[in-house]
Amino acid sequence: MKDNAIVFKGTKEGLYIVLKEEMDFEDILQQLEEKIKPSKKFFEGAKITNLKGKRLTPKEFEELVGVLENQYDMEYLGDYESLYSYVNGVKEEDKNRLNQVQITNQNNGQEEKAFFVKGTVRSGQLIKSDGNIIILGDVNPGAYLEAVGSIMVMGNMRGIAHSGTQGDYNTFIAAFRLEPMQLRIGDIITRSPDGKKYKSEVPEMAVVRRGMIIVEPIWGRNS
């Protein structure tokens, strides 16, 4: 199985890439192309903070970073030395908390389905759909939404929402009031800052830009 030769993971600071231990370097490069090409625009300008997993030789490292920076307009923060002095001392945290999903382009031209829920989604409840999810009501803290497609909450979204669970960065999470505990799009995660509760004033949506989740107003934005 070559499928998961590389996996992108998101943190607050940026992305890191996990390289599967037993893969050849050639396969890694090939998968990089397969994974990023269809989703290139989501990765433009992305900051790669770290490489984990398979240890690369200095030459391989240079080649990989070269590909990332020149072909895909990403930026690698750091250098070979600091990478491996750091990686060796760090255990791979969060491993189980993420689905290590593949990046594929989905729903292009395909019919999309939506799962409607009317009412409050409460703590401990999980709404799952292999299409989109539309909630006509509030999503409370401790409630989970998981959609292969996008998520729209016509109310307060205060729980945990995961769109693009099979790796579609084209998906979004939108809400009349987006005050989430955590948002995930594909395998990228972001969470609300600690401390003071964030109060949303206008309808907002979360999308992927530069390999990170950003939140912006649904209406009145430039793009």
Partner: protein, 266 residues
Amino acid sequence: MGEVIVITSGKGGVGKTTTAANIGTGLALEGKSVVLLDADIGLRNLDVVMGLENRIVYDLVDVVEGICRMKQALIKDKRYTNLYLMPAAQTKDKNAVNPEQMLKLTKDLAEEFDYVLVDCPAGIEQGFKNAIAGANRSIVVTTPEVSAVRDADRIVGLLEAHGLRNPQLIINRVKIDMVRRGDMMNIDDMVDILAIDLLGVIPDDEYIVISTNRGEPAISDSKSLAGQAYKNIVKRILGENVPFMNLDPEEGFMAKLAKAFGFRRK
């Protein structure tokens, strides 16, 4: 047929038992026939709060197992002739009964009484499932804390999934000086999140502790603030329209508080 009301919360120690004792006593004071059913098997204490613990011979599990007749396990209250308690077993655990048995028991009790109040154990396991099995109305108790509200939300979801459509909310242990300082979780926010009807707000009141230790529910004492708040709740359960709190910032603090607890201004 009487009504079966389950009093639940998710989180422990927020005031379910206190609420069951006070509402039960309050309904009896209003002339209704009431039975308090302690469904907290293995951790019973409704009998202690009611001051009836030394009269227990048979309990709920004995009835379910056919060791005694239903009437034999009903303890008559010492003050009110139309108030009874069916205690939980202390030496068994929650698996000693199942939801079907509880459904039958509460149905049998509802034949005899206007109100069957079920005091639910903490948690969402077997004991919870037992307690809600026969209910046709539910009250969710929370305190103004994020963790209690979160658990209450979970419980509301489970109640709704079980067909108990319109749970009502009691917010207990609201601290008056914290309201004054603005440090308390906002009542409107809690009601907004839980999205269920507010049945009442109970102040934190040391009289509750005193009365609990005496085995006399606070509702029977006119000096207790919490007792007054429970009186209003009882009236609302009976369908009376008692005025509600309003956190209007234009109002003076005492007016706000008076409104919060449903007192009439002199």
